[in-house]
């Protein structure tokens, strides 16, 4: 549409002058690097980009981006970002949130932003712990977790963030992790390209309060056998030489099988564009803990009208029908009489 040429930016253009204050070794650094490195590739301008966060370690993120930004209220970023995105569909709006921020106190706003399909790129830093408040269990912490607030182990059943997002009618759902910059960048790129709400869960290590939570899956020596990289249009297989794959049983259950046993043709072919979210949901629930093979990549990417555009369309439709707003006419719209 517009002919404005976005000046080429470099990673440096996207970095603010603020001192980064996460703990040394925190996974948040890697995510920030990936985002800052990706931004020049997206062909957008820092002044048209807005980062909105809630409260938590992860939510400090906007301070480090040389864009417009707001570090807002615990849990409320999706709502505030909805205001920005609906008011200004011309902007690129990102939401940065933590597992407590988005799934506990802000659960309501998250699901409604997804349901409305507000044009937001939502990055959920899931470290399965409350980092900023120094280590209480979170809605994604595993049952039995011993923390300061659960000395005898947590008895809460955790959320699966992707299941929540899919259940909330999300049109784009993906997962990546903080140790693989390239993977993150690719997932973020697709999330950004998606029009509507994009939801990305990032496995993020909190080395102070929940260290190595994802090591069994994402560490260098585990990855090959534990990470299932979803690629649209391709059979879902992983492991050394792709010896394992995902198969749907006659009972409708997804199972991980040896390809040698079931044959290549039995493998499920990943289709991120399927309207029906059932398979994406099944894939999201393929693993139930941090010690079994887990799918990554884009689970779902379907098109649905985005909220800000639809609000704008109604405004345009109303103007077309009624003409531009006229206060004289408004004041007389309920009938008047004259006194001489």
């Amino acid at each position: 549409m517009s002919d404005t040429i976005v000046p080429l930016t470099t990673k440096k253009d996207w970095m603010s002058d603020q001192e980064v204050r996460w703990c040394p070794g925190c996974g948040d650094y890697g995510i920030m690097q990936a985002v800052q490195q990706l931004m020049p590739d997206l062909g957008i301008a820092p002044e048209n980009t807005v980062f909105i966060s809630g409260i938590g370690c992860s939510s400090r993120f906007p301070y480090y981006m040389n864009t417009y930004g707001m570090h807002s209220i615990h849990g409320r970023a999706p709502a505030i970002a909805t205001g920005v995105a609906v008011a200004r569909p011309d902007l690129d709006v990102w939401v940065i949130t933590g597992d407590g921020d988005s799934l506990s106190i802000g659960g309501n706003h998250l699901i409604h932003a997804l349901r409305r399909n507000v044009n937001l790129t939502i990055l959920l830093f899931n470290n399965r712990i409350y980092g900023l408040t120094k280590g209480q269990y979170s809605p994604t912490s595993e049952t039995g977790k011993v923390t300061k607030s659960t000395p005898m182990g947590s008895i809460d059943h955790p959320f699966n963030p992707l299941s929540v997002a899919l259940g909330a009618e999300a049109s784009f759902v993906a997962r990546t992790h903080d140790l693989d910059r390239k993977h993150m960048m690719e997932v973020f790129r697709q999330a950004h390209a998606h029009k509507g709400a994009s939801f990305v869960e990032i496995f993020q290590n909190c080395n102070v309060f929940n260290d190595s939570a994802f090591d069994d899956i994402t560490s260098r020596n585990a990855r090959e056998e534990m990470m299932i990289d979803l690629k649209h249009g391709q059979p879902i297989r992983f492991g050394a030489d792709g010896h394992k794959g995902v198969v749907m049983g006659s009972d409708g259950q997804l199972r991980i099988m040896e390809v040698a046993d079931v044959g290549e043709d039995a493998l499920l072919v990943h289709d991120a564009h399927r309207e029906d979210p059932g398979l994406a949901f099944a894939l999201a629930r393929l693993s139930h803990d941090d010690h079994s093979a887990t799918p990554f990549g884009v689970f779902r990417d379907v098109q649905r009208g985005d909220y800000g555009s639809m609000v704008g369309a109604q405004l345009a439709q109303a103007s077309e029908k009624k003409g531009p707003g006229d206060l004289h006419a408004l004041l007389r719209s309920n009938g008047t009489w004259s006194v001489d």
């Binding site: 209220i73 008011a87 004289h328």
Partner: protein, 622 residues
């Protein structure tokens, strides 16, 4: 024939004003009946004031006192402000309405009763163990008994309307009757019925309305009709307006005057929902409305829109104000414009959701964490809600601050004639966005400081996303004045707390000074705010007409107050503060000015009557 001629001689008696109250079951259409009577009276040129009074339940058990829905309207040939203390005429459609509202009717008042609804069963439901029509229970009133349901059925029968369906038109029979009684023109109502309804329902309603009118004309139940001549209102074009519509239009106008798109985030709640409904109709003004998932989100969306350069508004009532509290504190810290509209209702909690109260002054003043002062504007009449909305927007934009605008259920649903303002005469409240760097760093490079204040207003610049070079981050963490960088240092926090307070306090110089109405040399002054305006106005007028001196100050700005308020109050021997709460403004005034103010309180979910305030004035003087 001769009969008719005789009756046509019955010339209307001129009266200066009348208060009519329509009361019936929630399902009887009393709000509509009252509303129509109001509309024709408005078109006829009367001054008027209305008071819809209805239950919280959409359909409380039919026929019970809890399910009674009433509409009181005061029409007059002179300037009036209240819907009247006691009705002169009470129309009751069933025994429950009689039970609920009889005590309001003036002694000797006209009581028009639909006798068809006084069967054993109806009486029982209303809690009567006798039929009040059969003894001298009603002897102090002028009772007119009319079988309205039967007459409506008879009138609509030729159209083929079934008796059960015909019953639904009986409110229009009542409207027709009262329209005749007060010599209202019939054309507007007929046109309205023709427009609003279709097919058999339309025909049935028209027949009922005409039958009611003809019934008044042809029967001898009333000696003669009455007439309330048009009021001598100042020349101009008028419309009849409720507070909520006026407030919504004020917000639309504010957007136009500020040259900013309006963004409303709202979650439905009585009695504020009508503002959401009304604003949703005005998309062609560029008004965006989002029905949010809750009040927290509604406030958050409005704040997000403000960050993005819109006029952000969120509308609610008491419980919603509580939910928005954290966002209001953030808005104070971010120093962004935002308007929170609170249509107060009886509390705490769900309280009296459809009844009026003005008990949210404390939460407006103090209902945030930390030191978080913000300006408060209060509307005083239905029509004034328009100006109050513009004023709230003006302050929010100019001072980059959240503002709370207080209205209440009484103003929200009540209506009055409003002389249309000329849009060209409304104030320009536009502000400019920051587009340039405003500071130089240590190396001499230009930079943008989001908290570099205007020395006069102490407002910070407003640079919106999309502006090249002015990228910046805001947040709830304490920031350094000027640069806006995170700064937790003791001296800076103290400085920022003081700056935010000074900014709000400074608005006092930018609002109209308080003025005294009535006798400046009186012993007693009434200090009012909000919707008590109407009752105080009537009470002050009557007191003065009776030869007693009294003064009155009405506040439209509750934070900060007009700077001259203390000086105005101190000379009076007695300061009376009437409020629909337990004395919230009174306590603030005592604390601020060390004056011996006395509260006059009422917490019944009802507005003050002028008689109550007149009595309070007399008591203070004795």
């Amino acid at each position: 024939m001769t009969d008719t001629e005789e009756r046509q001689d019955r010339q209307p008696e001129q009266i200066s004003h009348v208060v009519v109250r329509f009361a019936g079951d929630s399902g009887d259409g009393m709000q509509l009946t009252g509303d129509r009577f109001t509309s024709v009276s408005a078109l006829f040129g009367n001054d008027l004031s209305t008071f819809p009074d209805y239950p919280a339940e959409i359909r409380a058990p039919a026929g019970t006192v809890n399910g009674v829905s009433s509409f009181q309207v005061h029409i007059s040939d002179h300037d009036i402000t209240t819907p009247g203390d006691a009705p002169n005429v009470l129309v009751v459609m069933n025994p429950a309405a009689l039970k609920a509202d009889l005590h309001r009717l003036e002694q000797g008042g006209l009581l028009i009763i639909n006798t068809d609804a006084f069967e054993e069963r109806d009486l029982h439901k209303a809690g009567y163990d006798h039929n009040p029509l059969h003894d001298d229970f009603l002897s102090q009133y002028r009772v007119v008994e009319i079988p309205m349901t039967t007459l409506t059925q008879r009138a609509t029968e030729p159209l083929g309307v079934k008796p059960r369906d015909a019953e639904r038109s009986k409110n229009l029979f009542a409207l027709g009757l009262v329209s005749w009684l007060y010599s209202r023109p019939t054309e507007p109502t007929i046109a309205w019925i023709e427009n609003k309804f279709k097919d058999l329902v339309k025909e049935s309603n028209l027949a009922a309305f005409r039958a009611g009118f003809a019934f008044g004309e042809t029967t001898e139940l009333f000696d003669h009709p009455y007439e309330v001549k048009p009021a001598q209102l100042p020349a101009g074009e008028y419309t009849n307006i409720t507070g909520n519509v006026a407030l919504a239009w004020g917000l639309v106008a504010a957007g136009q005057l500020a040259k900013l798109p309006v963004f409303l985030g709202s979650y439905p709640i009585t009695p504020a929902s009508d503002i959401l409904h009304e604003l949703s109709k005005h998309k062609h003004f560029g008004v965006r409305t989002v029905q949010a998932e809750d009040e927290i989100a509604a406030a958050g969306m409005a704040l997000g829109s403000a960050f993005a350069g819109h006029l952000g508004v969120t509308t609610t009532s008491g419980p919603g104000v509580a939910l928005k509290s954290e966002t209001m504190s953030l808005a104070v810290s971010l120093e962004l414009p935002l308007i929170l509209v609170d249509i107060q209702r009886g509390g705490p909690s769900t309280g009296l959701p459809t009844k009026t109260e003005a008990a949210d002054l404390n939460i407006a003043m103090f209902g945030r964490h930390g030191e978080a002062p913000l300006p408060i504007v209060a509307a005083y009449s239905p029509a004034n809600c328009f100006d109050a909305a513009i004023e709230a927007a003006r302050i929010a934009l100019k001072y980059r601050t959240p503002v709370i605008l207080l209205s209440d259920g009484y103003l929200a649903n009540g209506s009055e004639p409003w002389k249309l303002p000329v849009p060209e005469d409304l104030p320009d409240i536009s502000v400019s966005f920051q587009t340039e760097m405003n500071h130089t760093d240590a190396e001499g490079n230009p930079e943008y400081w989001p908290y570099l204040r205007d020395p006069d207003t102490l407002a910070r610049p407003w640079a919106i996303p999309g502006t090249p070079g002015l990228m910046h981050r805001v947040g709830g963490i304490e920031k350094q004045d000027g640069s806006g960088n995170i700064d937790y240092s003791p001296a800076n926090h103290s400085k920022m707390v003081h700056l935010r307070a000074d900014k709000i306090a400074g608005i006092a110089a930018d609002i109209p000074p308080a003025t005294i109405t009535g006798d400046a040399d009186a012993d007693v002054v009434l200090l009012g705010w909000g919707s008590t305006w109407a009752a105080i106005d009537a009470a002050v007028q009557r007191t003065r007409r009776a030869g007693t001196k009294v003064a009155w100050i009405h506040l439209t700005h509750l934070n900060p107050w007009p700077p001259n308020l203390g000086d105005l109050l101190r000379p009076f021997k007695r300061i009376l503060v009437p409020e629909l709460n337990m004395g919230q403004l009174c306590r603030l005034v005592r604390a601020e000015y060390l004056v011996d103010a006395t509260p006059i309180t009422k917490v019944q979910g009802l507005p003050f009557t002028s008689a109550e305030l007149e009595a309070a004035i007399q008591e203070a003087l004795s």
